[in-house]
């Protein structure tokens, strides 16, 4: 059983389009995250939700809007895609946000903006 799953795995789109990436975890965790990995493999936090509430927003352009319909799902919607948005986006989850709980990562979504 996949613990943290993301769809789609690959996404190729034109500049200016709007796209969404979905994430689901079946671990019963309270906290979910979105990370972005750039072309140099540098992985950086974007957002974190704890029990459907936004707790971290790391100076991400407001074209990026996360949505958590329930604590098992955290989706990422991106408006007006730009070339610089091309990256691999990882979803992760952890039991809580208050302690050193291990984060489990999804397989990633490779977004290519043409």
């Amino acid at each position: 059983d996949t613990a943290v799953s993301q769809t789609p795995k690959y996404l190729v789109t034109q500049m200016g389009n709007d796209k969404s990436i979905k994430c689901e975890q079946n671990l019963g965790h309270d906290t979910m995250y979105w990370y972005k990995q750039d072309s140099k493999k540098f992985l950086k936090i974007m957002f974190s939700y704890n029990n459907k509430e936004l707790i971290i927003n790391e100076t991400v352009p407001n074209r990026f809007s996360p949505k958590s319909p329930d604590k098992a799902h955290l989706n990422l919607h991106i408006n007006s895609l730009e070339l610089g948005d091309s990256a691999v986006y990882f979803c992760a989850s952890s039991l809580t946000s208050g302690g050193p709980d291990t984060q489990y990562f999804g397989p990633g979504t490779r977004l290519t903006v043409l």
Binding site: V4, T31, Y33, K40, K41, F42, L43, K44, I45, S48, N50, I55, I56, E58, F90, A92, S94, T96, S97, G98, G99, P100, D101, T102, Q103, Y104, F105, G106, P107, G108, R110
Partner: protein
């Protein structure tokens, strides 16, 4: 903000050789995570260290956190092609618990193991 520096940035070894990857923090570490990433895949959790001087092992991989909790090392014994990938260290919540679980990662070490 906390910064993590990994070294080396890339490493090429012959199968069977031992190797070490280092992760140095600009601040005291209160939770240090090691992950492995294979191309096209997500991050696989390896180990988490919290206490100064702590050492953990899993199969042929050993991770250590120094007494001052500012440096960690990942050692692979008798490397195999299956060990190839990108190794990332991540720093966990700070002492005040205000980072809300976010991890700050090093830039990664690309490991290639030649058969």
């Amino acid at each position: 903000s906390q910064e993590l520096e990994q070294s080396p940035q890339s490493l090429i070894v012959q199968e069977g050789k031992n190797l070490t990857i280092n992760c140095t923090s600009s601040k005291t570490l209160y939770g240090l995570y090691w992950y492995k990433q294979k191309y096209g895949e997500g991050l696989i959790f390896l180990m988490m260290l919290q206490k100064g001087g702590e050492e953990k092992s899993h199969e042929k991989i050993t991770a250590k956190l120094d007494e001052k909790k500012q440096q960690s090392s990942l050692h692979i014994t008798a490397s195999q092609p299956s060990h190839a990938g990108i190794y990332l260290c991540g720093a966990g919540p700070d002492a005040g618990g205000t980072s809300y679980g976010k991890l700050t990662f090093g830039q990664g070490t690309i490991l290639t193991v030649h058969p």
